[in-house]
């Protein structure tokens, strides 16, 4: 399917007619973005009176969007479309230049279309987001260590909760499909690049522009609404809310673009012979995840546009006085929100399923079950959103049906367990760090799934809804399962992405610190929830003191564990043990290419003759 580029062997010095492309990078992007933002702010604030609530909101929103547009213009994102518009398509040399051929470390700061560069950019973006979100979590837990503590004020606390939430949600949505979906997945399917390399670069840089916008919330009074940003609270909130709105809208664009790109790549660019029953399971999981995100996120974007309209133009979507309702927000939010949970979960799980056969040296048990399980989760996830609204009173008679669909999700989830257990059975697992993640997943997902069963039940949810129990539950699924999967994926693919092995002892220590701290933290939080502590509270009654103290101790342990991991990642990047081409003896295609991976990945397009799980004694 993919043909080789002629230039690979020769590597000409890229000099595409000294065109504009060669002069642009993230630095020019920053400059143009800041100029756009400043001009917009200055210009609009002279025209509009920013002491008026809605006019101030308009100015701030416009400034944020213009920053994003300016940055993209400055980094050269619009060169391609404009050249298309005027009929001067980019020449082969220019495209080769945009792929960052022979530009060393500079290409990481350019509008680079090489999927491997984009993957590394995503990886560091994710690390930064997780570090920031994690630091916020530490502050939250520090505040909650003691009842009546005045470590931070309620206003700061509420901002922290909102910022921690949305930072982590964004980080987790891209944590697997960003770095591994971009770097590894195209190689895994034997493609030379993504289907739309320029869109690939676009998806990363658009996301990048959202990060300063999100950070600006901190200086604009924070996001006092939690990451759910329920209306009408969000309409009432201060100027920091604009940053949340702009972030979500920008992020939704990035997600749609990268979702379309990854899906199209997998559908049209698989290697010869890679029929649908031979596609590695990680590719299936990641693709289903991003494909699910394509229809899910626009409704969140719509909800944010409505919030922005209510705040800036005084429309009445969520204003009960003029016929609006907060229920509409909740619907739009959760129609995105529940699929989004599985958008996060599926790639992480798929990484772990990909890892199991390699380390057990057995074929994947029942590939079909894994596919059916994924597909079932995807299908059902669009039918369960209102289980977040049992107590909202929007239509109590529909609680029963939503309870049924929700509990049905345990069946496809059960198939995922069967696949992992069936592969483990009769095998002797090689407990390298990636494989440890599989065991952590089995336990964490079990706890997360079972506590989800209580929450899906209407009468039980009557008690648990809005309590710390819910917080503990979704951290078990999102962090305990999805993030564990992504961290396992990092140690698994780190050799291919950096050419070095991830520091083994450090990642062992990190694994155990994180996982033990995790259990302690959320055991405490389950207890607090069962005792009746509401979530998102800056302070609590004396009776919850013990459980919260336990939680805080666990949180610090996790924090230390992740610092160790961060050290390992940074240290090993240059100083780690040099990795062999295939350190784990895996059979997927990404291990057949050397490091550094050539620009077009494969010297000769691979031909696939079987699925990548042909391990085992009697295998041919």
């Amino acid at each position: 399917m993919t043909t080789l580029d002629q230039h690979v062997g020769t590597r000409p010095i890229p000099n595409p007619k000294k065109s504009l492309i060669t002069k642009l990078n993230a630095g020019t992007g920053l400059i143009v973005g800041i100029i756009f933002a400043l001009l917009t702010y200055r210009g609009l604030s002279t025209v509009l009176d920013i002491s008026v609530y809605e006019l101030n909101n308009r100015v701030l929103l416009a400034t944020m969007f213009m920053w994003s547009i300016g940055f993209l213009a400055g980094i050269g994102a619009f060169i391609g479309p404009i050249r298309w518009l005027i009929g001067e398509d980019l020449t082969a040399e220019e495209q080769l230049y945009m792929a960052g051929d022979g530009q060393g470390i500079k290409r990481y700061f350019k509008y680079c279309t090489d999927h491997k560069v984009v993957g590394i950019q995503y990886l560091w973006g994710v690390i930064v987001l997780l570090a920031v979100g994690g630091a916020m979590a530490m502050m939250i837990r520090t505040d909650l260590a003691n009842p009546g503590g005045h470590f931070i004020t309620p206003s700061v606390y509420n901002s922290l909760v909102g910022l921690h939430g949305i930072t982590m949600i964004i980080a987790l949505i891209i944590v697997a499909t960003g770095p591994f979906g971009n770097y590894i997945m195209p190689i895994m399917i034997g493609a030379a690049d993504m289907a739309f390399p320029r869109l690939n670069a676009l998806s990363w840089w658009v996301l990048f522009t959202a990060i300063p916008v999100l950070c600006s919330a901190w200086f604009l009074g924070g996001i006092p609404t939690g990451w759910t940003a329920y209306a009408p609270l969000s309409v009432q909130a201060g100027p920091g809310m604009n940053a949340f709105i702009a972030t979500i809208i920008i992020f939704a664009i990035s997600t749609a673009v990268s979702g379309a790109n990854i899906t199209a790549t997998v559908i049209t660019m698989r290697a010869k012979g890679m029929t649908w029953n031979r596609v590695p399971i990680f590719v299936v999981g990641a693709t289903l995840s991003v494909a699910m995100a394509i229809p899910a996120f626009p409704t969140f974007m719509l909800a944010m546009i409505m919030t922005a309209m209510d705040r800036s133009f005084l429309t009445g979507f969520f204003d009960a006085n003029v016929g609006g309702t907060g229920w509409l927000y909740a619907h739009l939010f959760w129609i995105m929100g529940h699929p989004e949970v599985y958008v996060i979960l599926l790639p992480g799980v798929a990484i772990l399923i990909e890892i199991v056969p390699v380390f057990v040296r057995k074929p994947l048990f029942s590939y079909t079950s894994a596919i059916v399980g994924f597909a079932g989760i995807v299908g059902l996830s669009f039918l369960v959103w209102a289980h977040h609204m049992y107590m909202s009173g929007w239509m109590p008679m529909l609680n029963g049906p939503f309870m049924v669909t929700t509990e049905m999700i345990s069946v496809p989830t059960g198939l995922i367990f069967l696949v992992i257990l069936g592969t483990l059975w009769n095998g002797k697992p090689w407990l390298k760090v990636p494989m440890l993640g599989v065991y952590a997943f089995l336990w964490n997902m079990l706890v997360g799934g079972i506590t989800g069963l209580y929450l899906s039940d209407v009468p039980a949810d009557m008690y648990l809804h809005g309590s710390m129990y819910v917080t503990a539950h979704f951290h078990y699924t999102l962090m305990g399962a999805a993030l564990t999967g992504a961290v396992a994926g990092l140690s698994y693919w780190y050799p291919k992405m950096t050419g070095h092995m991830l520091h083994e002892r450090a990642s062992y220590i990190s694994f155990w610190l994180v996982q033990i701290g995790f259990q302690v933290l959320y055991l405490g939080m389950f207890i607090a929830g069962a005792e009746g502590q509401p979530r998102r509270v800056v302070d609590y009654a004396e009776q919850f003191a013990t459980s919260n103290k336990i939680s805080t101790m666990g949180a610090y342990t996790i924090g230390i564990g992740f610092i160790v991991l961060l050290w390992a990642v940074i240290h090993s990047w240059r100083h780690g043990k040099i990795a062999p081409m295939n350190p784990w003896g895996a059979k997927t295609l990404e291990w057949t290419v050397p490091y550094p991976v050539p620009l077009v990945n494969f010297d000769t397009p691979p031909v696939v003759t079987s699925d990548p799980y042909g391990y085992g004694r009697s295998a041919k």
């Binding site: 609270l233 006085n321 107590m391 049905m408 009769n426 407990l431 005792e531």
Partner: protein, 263 residues
């Protein structure tokens, strides 16, 4: 229960069933599974009854029962998963070299089928049980609705206000007579709140303009907490008050003391 499920993971069709039961991995996994199941059955029930607050209504009782029953439904699943996981974890391959290849089992039709059927049945049990409880509670509340005492609950940032329309009393503390059904009509004057009298086991959002309702019958004397379970702005954490379930006489006295006319 767990014993059978663990056994079902047997993937090698060549093995005879009789030998299969004698295999050390089967026996060990089964033992682990049974122990895990037992722990979950015993501790799972205890966990909730220990930590959940005093039961002060039939609804709260039902919730506590649900939590325990769901734990029991989940226990065998935990047994199977953790039994196999623990066994393979303890029988790992150590060393820096790759382990030898295991058997090349690709799938096992009957096991997949059995697993799907069993998990579906467990899910179905949970669904049926949950629906039954939901139904019985709504039937009970419908029955009580006629002679229930109405309390209008209003959430505002960051105070709960309780109005007893028939008694002409307004209060910031929620006083209720014992064994008398009560219907809460819940409203908000600003953002969303969630009305949560913790020990009574009911919770419903307070939305602006659109009224929501919740019913319960307190059946135990004593104080309880009223909280807000939906982030509602700056002092969300402090939007709490207390309530008390009283004898009918005490309640009437309280009403009179508040300047209302007793029922």
């Amino acid at each position: 229960m767990s014993e059978h499920d663990s056994v079902d993971l047997k993937p090698t069709p060549g093995d005879r069933l009789a030998n299969f039961y004698k295999r050390s991995d089967v026996i060990q996994s089964t033992i682990f599974g049974v122990i895990v199941t037992g722990i979950f059955v015993i501790l799972g029930g205890k966990f909730y009854t220990k930590w959940m607050p005093t039961v002060m209504s039939t609804d709260m009782k039902a919730i506590e029962r649900l939590m325990v029953v769901f734990t029991w439904i989940a226990a065998p699943v935990c047994g199977v998963v953790l039994g196999v996981a623990l066994y393979t974890f303890l029988n790992r391959h150590s060393g820096d070299t790759q382990p030898p290849d295991g058997p090349a089992t690709r799938t096992n039709g009957p096991i997949v089928l059995l697993w799907s059927v069993v998990t579906s049945l467990l899910a179905l049990t949970a669904v049926v049980y949950g629906i039954t409880e939901l139904n019985s509670s709504s039937i009970a509340s419908a029955k009580n609705a006629e002679d229930a005492m109405v309390v209008n609950v209003t959430g505002s940032q960051w105070v709960w206000t309780f109005e007893y329309p028939k008694l002409g009393v307004t209060s910031h503390e929620l006083m209720l007579p014992i064994n008398h059904p009560v219907t809460f009509h819940v409203n908000s004057v600003d953002v969303n709140h969630s009305f949560w009298p913790v020990q009574l086991g009911v919770k419903v959002d307070a939305n602006k303009v659109a009224e929501t309702t919740a019913e319960t019958t307190p059946n135990k004397l004593g104080e309880f907490d009223v909280k807000c379970a939906e982030l509602c702005g700056l002092y969300h954490a402090y939007m709490e008050t207390t309530g008390e379930v009283m004898t009918v006489d005490d309640f009437n006295n309280w009403v009179v003391a508040q300047g209302g006319h007793s029922a």
